[in-house]
Subunit: 466 residues, 2 copies
């Protein structure tokens, strides 16, 4: 990040230079995924798909278009979303009889169907997910991947249960599942229960994951909602109990978006560009031949290195372009390729390679014999370090404070705070007095005396937020 840049300018340049996304599409808030970015996105999606499938979620695909009457059925929900939905009002030359909403999220598209699918307790639990585009007519400033009018990568899961206990256990499963997902992306996160005024429209409560971006603002990267019977009453999702009586079902939903890709790019970046977690990187290893004086590069040897690694399943590029090695290093660093092998006459004659990790840039000579094993080990170590480094950086910038004055000061220095508050009334007061946002109450956190009224309190997160 150059000093003269804003975070937004830096991030836009990173996306374009790393060939992740092109923000120049001629409509505000819409972007194009470039091939390299798309590969990264698809690898991230396959991690979350795997975690969901392992835990019994099945993939489905619901329509994008929601008829106005279904959309308007749940009062809270529509109040939460009606200012930001796109309306389809015409088809061909005709005005539509029933106006259609582009889904901003899929409760009102899915739940009328759940009502048809669920008859008996034996149909439960129902656990489904889909990966789709959702649309929000954002009037605020948009930002690629972070605040989009078309969110092109929205993974939403929806579950239905026969009791409150089971549904709340599902909330905990979702939190655990997302934690493992963020661990795989080497992302640090804070988990908190959102205050009432920031609860998902129609939910009883919402738990959210936030991470801290380099500009000192919190980015929400995942949410888990307990819906109780709010929607099941409205959409008539009932089941028959073993004793023959009927009851409205208990529901949850939870989602992540391409913001997780944004966080992965940003939290492991340096001044040159991103550093991708090697197990997710579209290209894990770049081999750069180093010519020596007038000698030609050791062609056969670098091909052999490539072949050996590809045979073992590594995603490798051998860069034989007619460019200077330094230019190649820079080219691949800007794209976040995590591992580089330099192969010159010296390496060729000693049958070694020079291994350089993108994050530390330290050089190390490794024999070709056993190289795949060394690389596998390096991938593990590197991801562990990337994860720890990112956690440490975040934790360093989240101060534990006990007064509102301290909170304001700490946030001014570009971070967030943990502050004891006794409940939502004082949380509201704290927001008003500091101009900061209460993200929520930490699920696990140390208490203290409420910074507003002095009564015993619990740990809340406050800061600026996207």
């Amino acid at each position: 990040m150059r000093e003269e840049d804003t975070f937004g300018e830096w991030f836009n340049r990173l996306l374009l230079e790393a060939e992740i996304m092109d923000p120049r599409y001629p409509v505000k808030g819409l972007c194009v995924w470039l091939p390299y970015g798309m590969e990264l996105r698809n690898r991230v999606l396959s991690v979350i798909r795997g975690l969901l499938q392992e835990t019994g979620h099945r993939e489905v695909l619901f329509p994008l278009l929601i008829p106005e009457d279904a959309f308007r059925k749940e009062g809270e929900h529509i109040r939460g979303f009606e200012d930001q939905v796109y309306w389809v009002t015409r088809g061909g030359g005709e005005e539509l009889d029933v106006k259609l909403v582009l889904r901003p999220t899929s409760e009102t598209s899915m739940y009328p169907m759940f009502s048809l699918w669920i008859r008996s307790h034996t149909d439960l639990p129902l656990k489904v997910f889909q990966v789709v585009s959702v649309f929000r007519y954002e009037t605020k400033m948009t930002k690629p991947m972070i605040r989009m009018r078309e969110v092109t990568t929205f993974k939403e899961a929806h579950t239905v249960h026969s009791s409150r206990e089971e549904a709340e256990a599902q909330v905990r499963e979702a939190i655990s599942l997302y934690s493992r997902f963020f661990d795989r992306l080497c992302l640090p996160y804070l988990v908190s229960r959102r205050p009432r005024w920031d609860t998902f429209a129609g939910a009883e409560y919402s738990v959210a994951f936030d991470t801290l971006l380099p500009d000192g603002k919190m980015l929400q990267i995942g949410t888990v909602h307990y819906l109780g019977q709010n929607f099941s009453r409205v959409f008539d999702i009932r089941f028959q109990r073993p004793d023959g009586t009927h009851e409205y079902a208990y529901q949850t939903c939870y989602g992540i978006s391409e913001r997780v890709v944004a966080a992965t790019l940003v939290l492991h970046a340096d001044e040159v560009g991103p550093c991708l977690p090697p197990s997710l990187a579209p290209i894990q290893v770049v081999i750069v031949p180093i010519p020596f004086k007038e000698e030609r590069e050791p062609e056969a040897y670098s091909e052999e290195v490539r072949r050996r690694l590809e045979e073992r399943g590594f995603r490798v590029v051998l860069d034989r372009r007619n460019l200077r090695p330094g230019n190649k290093f820079y080219y691949w660093e800007r794209r976040g390729v995590p591992l580089r092998l330099e192969v010159g006459p010296r390496e060729s004659s000693s049958r070694t390679v020079t291994l350089v990790r993108r994050d530390r840039r330290e050089r190390r000579e490794v024999p070709l014999e056993g190289l795949p094993e060394v690389l596998s080990q390096t991938v593990r170590e590197m991801e562990e370090e990337m994860r720890e480094r990112a956690w440490r950086r975040m934790e360093e910038r989240i101060r534990r404070v006990s007064t509102l004055q301290e909170a304001g000061r700490a946030a001014g220095e570009g971070g967030a705070v943990r502050i004891p508050l006794c409940g939502e009334e004082c949380a509201r007061r704290a927001e008003e007095e500091t101009g900061l946002q209460v993200l929520g109450e930490e699920l696990e956190g140390e208490g203290g005396n409420c910074a507003v009224c002095g009564k015993p309190g619990r740990s809340f997160l406050m800061g600026k937020s996207y």
Copy 2:
């Protein structure tokens, strides 16, 4: 297909009973992919993704929303699509300044960006594809998977080249690629060059793949378009040649949709339900324990069979539900599971299984030792036979005729015809006189004297069509 059914009723029931798709979504022309159908869809997509990636196509993702001015840029294109696009006219409470179209196809979304990406002949060829939903405001009767208002599985490839020759070679590559794709789905197809009046809006010419459904109508399952410089002139996609001069680029595009899934379900079905090509089936093998008299089922043995097959990568279900074997057979046949293993006390004591192929229903005893190899062999043989059977059935219903009278008669019997015609003028006349549709001129086909004017002609396909 029961006699009293129309094809449409039968197909709708098949989709719901096989748990592929639920057509009960409360908007005409929109359906829900059910988990099992979604798995099938995703496996079909991974076949086409693989074929595209092997041939150098890279996946991208463009926005759904196209601004009115970009959409209206190419005159032919807009004339072809304007009667069937959905318009987004409002966001939140506001009328939009620039109205947005839901993409009916993505030329006008992609090509403004291609114009930014392409500068030099070294940027070419560009070969990209995406898998997205597209929207058509169909006023005709809609039909799940076949004529939808939201086509949820549209794979469209777009390529840009530096010469007409290279672009036309790409058309041939696409034809070959789609042929291999349909071979993998065991689908028979006919390839023809569409007449001028049925060419893709904005293309110089279109080549299409059709297959014949059980109701005697042709279903278009893939198209390949040569765009020439039509779009590149309008969207200013130019490149610099090695000699420094500039030229407009040459383009192609080609697409397939979920219609290929529909064809796969329908063309290998019998009165019970579909029979999925085993390499694509979400569940390849179902193991059904057969209890004998009062003996319990051989639990340990059926678990062992399952484990052996799963270890070798087969997708297996062991059905231990408390149902009669016959009910289980029917249950899995309705879902198209291609292979069944029956395991009773006899099999357990002889360490064999009884293997039943879904398509032939013949039974065969196979030793557990070596079962994975037998199953792999069976998968290959079965797909080969399914493909041949489907081809034979189609070819039997496509008569070669030499007069318009014969054409009308043959089509009346529920099929299509090959007929010699000298060109598009006589093709138009043939349509008018028979009420049939000219699908196009076969790329490879035997000629004869034009059925309209008697001059030397080439082979055209005529029939009824979706």
